[in-house]
Subunit: 215 residues, 2 copies
């Protein structure tokens, strides 16, 4: 077997070394001290410094989201992948939880009956949640557009919308729509994003709320 | 609400349009007709054309993996996120299944007792599976290195190893180790990768086995 030189395998060391490397290679930017951990965690999860250019925050986005997490808010994701990636243990310590409606059989049944996407019905489920909601969209532009429609109709008032759908069709447009809504958002502009990015943004906010604690 | 022009929202149309855009923008490359769907799905899931440069295949990787899927193999992932992203419905139609041992309480207990990572213990669980295994690593270099050690010791013979850990510490080295093992692999070389990429590679192989069918 090839002899390779590995650095310490302790997870906490790996994370610290990774963040040091990211900080050292980070291009010049105007992010605030509150926003920077979000940007760094997106780079950490993708090894892609494009997120330093792509990420866009409203002024109070991080502050409001961190307060909402401390108050036990619900994080709604548009995919099971993003749901899996969110650190639910820390969220639950604050009395909050994460949910994803995409695989619910009744969501599929209602979507089929009404001839709409499951993502659209999932957003209506999100709008019906009582209490504070952070909405994290990492996949479906359809979900983001439906959420914007519900906000426009006054039926949905999330504390924060994380807009990180990925891809080549309707993705750029859906994020531009989000930025025009007047709500607080963190968005990965352009084509890039993904469930991993949506989860990374959630986790950066959760760790900011927990003072860095992961357990 | 801002008026935006969206293309057809039918999922099948979106996928087709996306793949057409990717094909039109794809840089020149030497991938075979078998490999290209894997490359395109990685770009599709990340909107990152770097994967056209990063992805490396052994000659028989795709063919052997597709045969294994048709024969009902087990897909092992190193994260719950990658597990969530794998199309288990199609895999199960062939008699196969996907598994991830990372969150198993007994894996955590054994890792703690032995002072090793959960990822390392998970790989030992993977090595103990009867029948054909495709191993998909999208996060932990530790998992990939432990899998290589088990292969070197003759205790683990996966049909294919998908090597797509992401990050800044031990990641590049772990993939170079994989490429030296003599096994069949599909690897995203360099720092980039992720659970989304590992799942995308699995799904591209699964759809090649199913003739494109998703259900």
């Amino acid at each position: 077997m090839k002899d390779i030189q590995l650095k310490s395998a302790a997870p906490a060391d790996i994370e610290r070394l990774s963040m040091e490397t990211i900080a050292a290679e980070m291009p010049a930017n105007d992010f605030t001290a509150e926003q920077l951990p979000v940007v760094m965690r997106c780079v950490h999860t993708s090894a892609d410094f494009d997120y330093v250019k792509n990420l866009k925050f409203t002024e109070n986005a991080v502050k409001r989201a961190v307060e909402a997490i401390k108050g036990g808010c619900t994080v709604v994701t548009d995919t099971q992948m993003a749901y899996s990636g969110v650190n639910k243990r820390v969220l639950e310590r604050f009395g909050g939880k994460a949910v994803c409606f995409m695989s619910d059989p009744d969501v599929a049944a209602e979507a089929k009956k009404r001839g709409v996407t499951r993502a659209a019905v999932s957003m209506e489920r999100a709008a019906a949640i009582e209490g504070s909601v952070i909405l994290a969209v990492g996949n479906a532009p359809t979900a983001l557009v439906r959420a914007c429609e519900l906000m426009d109709e006054g039926r949905f008032s999330p504390v924060l919308v994380i807009g990180a759908p990925v891809g080549f069709v309707n993705v750029v447009e859906s994020k531009e729509l989000l930025c025009s809504m007047g709500c607080d958002y963190i968005a990965a502009m352009g084509r890039k994003g993904g469930s991993n990015i949506a989860a990374a943004i959630c986790n950066a906010l959760i760790y900011s709320a927990s003072g860095g604690a992961r357990e």
